[in-house]
Symmetry: C3
Subunit: 259 residues, 3 copies
């Protein structure tokens, strides 16, 4: 179905794998459109309760495919961001399901932005994130200028963006970028802790909380109190809320269906 | 005067104690209205220079009283947040005096939000905060969606909100949620360091800085520079500013009266 | 040329030194106007690729010159902030070049704000930052109410602002305020790592990223994605982008000229 990515759903967990290992999963035009399509699919399909985003081979994603870009004389950054990267980041943030980034290898440039745009970041401690844009005289894009200061504070964000330093797994956890760092050999076990939880979680409420945190990034307390009220009213009509309260009163484990 | 809380003022320090220890200080309708009233009282009374917020018994606050809520067939989340929780959080944030949360035990759900809405959080290291909403299919409320990302960053906020993990005292300090963690046996000593300071501090300036930080959460630099100007002009006409400068020039300790 | 500061440019690095060591570089009217002028000069001059901001003698900057202010009966905080401090902070944040604060000694009050307004903060570990305003009944100003919560989170910001605690170098790095802490004897070496990098970096892209991070502090994701697009289009027409891509394809080190 897809040429440059793999898409696979097993027991509520949809794994989207960047699959151009021969170029460290660099992003050409086609792969970004395939990713957009895959995210729309994951949004629609009820059996998807959580998405795992990862890379085939040694890298997670080396960012924009520079060689592909260089050939194109009429290449416009504006058009590329407008059609390819910005919709991709928006789809990730608007997907009402958790996205776990399984960082199996380097995440550079736009690849770094994809990692930051995920909800949960699980990193192999041997690998790193790098805002590599500055190395070729560009600015960070694909949402990094929004995500980075909200993760590490304004000062560290300036340093990482303008010096292009590498952030390995352990430092990423200390800085608040990554949720978990683990030796590569244990990466799948670490990811499984999250997928096992999220595939059985009240997905509806989680999707609403993702929207709330999106909105919180640029709202005042009054607006958030209003929005919490709006979202709680929705969550409170869900099957999973009824089940949650029943289970609490009956002192048993809740069985959530995600709606 | 109150049925479900205790309210006591000693030497400038007003202690508000949630007092339903038999249900881990769960929040029924009455207790939230009493809390609202107590905060209005603390705002008005000049002898109150700092508020300590704590719980009777083993818990700080277990959140909404679920058993009380379940009995009410017509229960509306929207009405409950609008009348009970949102005004309570607004009163806390608008109180022009510091609120120290003395976290003597678990703070769950709306109880966690009350801890986060405080200005200074002092935790017994044996106890924890938990955004327990997700466990019954609900979204975080009472301001948690506003406070949490501003304390721990967007990524950790998502994890804590959607996985409902426990944050014990030491981790809370590392994450920037709590100001201090201490063994339970030393909790009162730790709180006293803060109350001794704040009851003798220039309360007027502190109240203004609390307003400034409230506003900073959703303002740009230009707006904050303007607002600093406005607030400094007010602080500069206070008794405590005159006293502060006099004490500085006379090389003695200032004696602030809070106005 | 200047009476109270030193201004010196060597190989792309402009060093601006507060030069009133006899009063710990306290800020009188004249020195703030000289600083404003120096920043305008640094903005205009192409040979300046990076600015180092430091203090002569034992202190970095002890803040407002209280003794100078006390003599002036008609002193207005509002006028002082409007004419002196707020334009200074705005000039620092709008300078499209990195500002490295070489913190050689105490930074108090408005001096602390100057350190926080810098892009990169390198601290001698023996020295400290302190929001000393509260000690004389004033509120933090000169941008501290904007910068502090974006660096350390809302809770620690309240504590530091209202208690006036000292933050030494190592703690400043842990809190995310400072980028680097080092023994005083190695301060120049530590600063040199940054200046060596920035004087040879793609300054145009870095200036754009500084603007992006300024804007990110109060923008939503959608606005930042649009702004990234706008800035990338500008960076993509620079000499340094062309050089960066050429160097990448030719597998050599890029030689950036800052435009």
């Amino acid at each position: 179905m897809y040429e440059f990515i793999k898409y696979d759903t097993q027991e509520g967990v949809t794994t989207i794998t960047l699959n151009r290992p021969e170029v460290y999963n660099a992003l050409n035009d086609e792969i970004t459109y395939e990713l957009q399509d895959a995210l729309k699919k994951a949004a629609k399909e009820d059996e998807t309760r959580v998405v795992v985003f990862t890379g085939e081979g040694k890298a997670f994603c080396s960012g924009q495919d520079l060689k592909a870009a260089v050939g194109d004389q009429k290449r416009s950054f504006s058009a590329s961001l407008e059609k390819r990267y910005n919709p991709l980041i928006s789809l990730m943030r608007n997907l009402p399901k958790p996205i776990i980034c399984r960082l199996n290898g380097v995440a550079a440039g736009a690849g770094c932005s994809l990692a930051l745009a995920s909800d949960i970041l699980v990193m192999a401690e041997e690998t790193f994130l790098v805002e590599v844009f500055v190395n070729i005289g560009l600015v960070m894009d694909s949402g990094s200028s929004y995500f980075l200061p909200r993760l590490v504070g304004s000062s560290k964000a300036f340093e990482l963006a303008t010096m292009g330093g590498r952030v390995y797994g352990k430092e990423a956890v200390e800085l608040g970028i990554a949720n978990k760092s683990t030796p590569m050999a244990e990466l799948d076990d670490a990811v499984k802790v999250y997928t096992d939880y999220y595939k059985n979680a009240p997905t509806k409420a989680i999707g609403l909380m993702k929207k709330m945190l999106n909105k919180s990034g640029n709202s005042d307390l009054k607006a958030m109190l209003e929005y919490e009220k709006y979202c709680q009213e929705i969550a409170g009509t869900s099957h999973d809320y009824k089940e949650g309260v029943d289970a609490f009163l009956e002192k048993r484990k809740a069985k959530f269906i995600g709606r």
